[in-house]
């Protein structure tokens, strides 16, 4: 209860303290890393046991799961293509999460990004390069505006963002479906799909450029990596990022210090929305080169896992994104090779989230360490 004021003259060894702090920091990082690794191992082990229990051969299945994405070059391409989307989605989620806002709106923002960028890429004739940049920028603007809605509702009206973002997702998904079915699909067409986007608007595929059969893996990865750098810069090197971090740390303090917390909270939703829209553009312009029904297939929730595994650190998101899509693609390969449903990967994913968010695990390791040190 009592606070003590240290006497400056009482021989405070700053250099030694600095060493101690650095040591502790390293330890904390190692603990975080080991918790993550243990979690992944435990989750894989649980998946292994499930297969064993249901009478499948887990060794065959896991071999396919864990080596599949690297076993053939086209599978590697599939992995990297999927990772591109997940990395972008992870980044989009990390921004509102960093401000402690539970925006679950990435799904709807992805659809809006896909829709807006594709419509422009189909119907507006543009010169090369601009034919890619303009649709993506417009998609981002749409995602930004869509993010503003739950952002403003949360910041200025204190409306529950989980409910509002889920509602907006449901509305947008239906709007997307409607527009695709009734407006973009050619009359008399057998399947529900838009026209292909113009050639200049297609994100170039590495398979065409490198003469490797990397499937639909495309230059979208460059955008993803630029966004990694951009989001890192935004969060750690700009005044806005500082504001987001302070709000996430202590909102009252941020307000007291003069930060316009409402505006920043609202913008954190909107910027996340703009980035999620890029994921939609990547799917539409790069992967499918047109709009198809249900283009996201619930990917946005997987983006949450990617951000969570990376602890909202943009520099770690490429790693966790690559890891996570490796599992997803491995699961698909496992299904064809070992006739085990790829959905086991979702089970593994769920276990990972549960264990990572279970604060007790990390605390337990820290306590054990502390005891050993003592």
């Amino acid at each position: 209860m009592q606070t003590t004021l240290p006497n400056p003259a009482s021989g405070y060894d700053r250099a030694a303290e600095l060493q101690r702090v650095r040591r502790e920091r390293l330890q904390t990082a190692l603990i975080d890393l080991s918790v993550t690794l243990i979690t992944i191992l435990v989750a894989l082990l649980i998946g292994f046991l499930v297969l064993l229990i249901v009478g499948k051969n887990p060794v065959v299945a896991f071999q396919a799961l864990l080596t599949g994405p690297l076993s053939r070059i086209n599978r590697t391409g599939r992995w990297l293509e999927d990772a591109t989307t997940l990395i972008i989605l992870g980044l989009s989620v990390a921004i509102p999460f960093k401000a402690r806002q539970f925006s679950l709106g990435a799904e709807g923002q992805l659809y809006v990004g896909a829709l807006v960028s594709t419509v422009i890429a189909i119907y507006v004739p543009l010169p090369p390069v601009l034919a890619i940049l303009v649709p993506i920028a417009c998609g981002m603007a749409a995602g930004f505006l869509l993010g503003l809605i739950p952002g403003a509702m949360k910041a200025y009206l204190n409306a529950n963002e989980i409910v509002s973002t889920l509602m907006i997702n449901a509305i947008i998904i239906r709007a997307y479906d409607y527009i695709l079915t009734y407006i973009l699909t050619a009359p008399g067409s057998q399947t529900v799909t838009s026209a292909d986007v113009q050639v200049f608007s297609q994100l170039a595929r590495w398979s065409d450029m490198l003469n490797l059969s990397l499937g639909r893996f495309n230059i979208g990865i460059v955008f993803a990596l630029l966004l990694v750098a951009g989001v890192w810069l935004l969060l750690s090197r700009t005044p806005f990022g500082y504001e987001v971090r302070m709000i996430g740390s202590n909102e009252k303090f941020a307000r007291y210090g003069g930060i316009d917390t409402k505006k920043v909270i609202m913008l954190s939703f909107a910027i996340g929305g703009a980035i999620a829209a890029v994921a939609g553009s990547h799917l539409a312009l790069g992967v499918h080169r047109r709009l198809i029904p249900g283009i996201s297939f619930g990917l946005a929730f997987e983006g949450i896992v990617v951000a969570l595994l990376a602890r909202n650190n943009p520099l770690l998101i490429p790693i966790t994104g690559l890891f996570y899509s490796y599992l997803r693609v491995g699961g698909e390969i496992m299904e064809t090779q070992a006739s085990v449903g790829s959905e086991i990967v979702q089970v593994i994913q769920a276990v990972i989230i549960l264990l990572i968010t279970a604060q007790v695990l990390a605390d337990w390791i820290k306590r054990r360490r502390a005891r050993r040190v003592a």
């Binding site: 249901v54 499948k56 539970f102 679950l104 509702m153 009206l157 204190n158 409306a159 529950n160 989980i162 409910v163 509002s164 889920l166 509602m167 907006i168 449901a170 509305i171 239906r174 709007a175 479906d177 409607y178 079915t181 009734y182 619930g298 929730f301 949450i304 969570l308 006739s339 085990v340 449903g341 959905e343 086991i344 990967v345 979702q346 089970v347 994913q349 769920a350 276990v351 989230i353 549960l354 968010t357 279970a358 604060q359 007790v360 695990l361 605390d363």
Partner: protein
């Protein structure tokens, strides 16, 4: 237009609303109980899937619909308690843990169905049980009311009765009162010896039962099979119904019925060349608007109180 009105004011339509609302209102009652205990349950969707899948599989293999019901509801409850365990004991984030549970349910149900019958789409190839449809004597012969109130699925009647029971439970029993106290001021509840964690376990457990009933209705009442992700967002609509219904049992029922009506309407109007997507958006838009209106009303009240004070002061000077 005239055609549309004829559809809406027909007994068949009202009966359809009750049918379509059942898998929204049942989980919504579960969501309501959890919400009132201060634990928002966004895992309703996953819990429904678990029950729907379990019910079909158990009833198909045991040839007993009731065993299917019991197993489905039980498993949904156990998973809801698992969510409670992660939140209350392991200090996991409630929202993220619930998202994990939804992913687990979506993937796990497909995985098991695929494993058992080598089909990822649905269990249509299995012969599974169904909850009985009940003809009520006398009432069934009343014109207009008869076709609405009679001949519904057992679980539709359960929904109507449960709304009343939940209301009595929350407002007239000790446990329900304690549960609300925990949701509103956990410290106050704790200070008079109410076990906060226990109440929240109970709330999430009850929430699992209702979500389970909703799931069972989907696969063993509404239709007679399980299909992948067949809940199609109903768990989230249920949560919306809780908010739109001002976190009251009857309000939740009405909101759920309204959502059901929009859904039923979209099916009916689909026959009339009105796109279903547009009609299906209505409940979500309504919830969004309700969230805004609710917040604005709260704010306006505060402003009014301040203004009233000023007027009084001006009058006295």
């Amino acid at each position: 237009m005239e055609e549309a009105f004829r559809v809406i004011f027909s007994a068949a339509f009202v009966a359809a609303v009750l049918r379509v609302s059942t898998p929204i209102v049942l989980p919504a009652l579960g969501g309501l109980i959890a919400e009132r205990a201060g634990v928002t349950n966004i895992a309703l969707e996953g819990l429904m899937l678990i029950a729907a899948c379990t019910g079909v599989l158990v009833s198909a293999y045991t040839k007993n619909a009731w065993l299917g019901l019991i197993a489905g509801v039980l498993l949904a409850t156990l998973f809801s308690l698992l969510l409670a365990f992660f939140y209350l004991q392991l200090k996991a984030d409630l929202i993220l843990a619930a998202i994990a549970l939804n992913i687990l349910a979506s993937g796990g149900t497909i995985f098991i169905v695929y494993l058992l019958i080598n089909d990822k789409g649905s269990t249509a190839s299995l012969v599974s049980g169904q909850m009985p449809f009940i003809d009520i004597p006398i009432i069934k012969d009343i014109p207009i009311l008869g076709p609405i109130l009679s001949g519904q699925n057992l679980l539709t009647y359960v929904m109507l009765i449960a709304t009343g029971l939940v209301s009595v439970f929350l407002y007239h029993t000790r446990t329900g009162t304690h549960l609300r106290a925990v949701g509103e001021n956990p410290d106050a509840a704790r200070s008079v010896g109410i076990n906060v964690k226990l109440q929240q376990y109970l709330a999430l457990g009850l929430s699992g039962i209702f979500a389970g009933l909703g799931g069972i209705y989907l696969s063993m009442g509404y239709v007679k099979f399980f299909a992948r992700d067949m809940t199609a967002g109903r768990g989230f609509i249920a949560l919306a119904a809780v908010y739109l219904g001002a976190k009251q049992p009857v309000g939740t029922l009405i909101a759920g019925l309204a959502f059901g009506a929009a859904d039923a309407l979209s099916i009916q109007l689909g026959n009339l060349q009105v796109p279903t997507q547009i009609v299906q958006m209505i409940p979500y838009i309504a919830t969004l608007v309700a969230l805004v209106v609710y917040a604005l009303v709260q704010r306006q009240r505060a402003v009014n109180r301040q203004r009233k004070f000023r007027q009084q002061q001006a009058a006295s000077v």
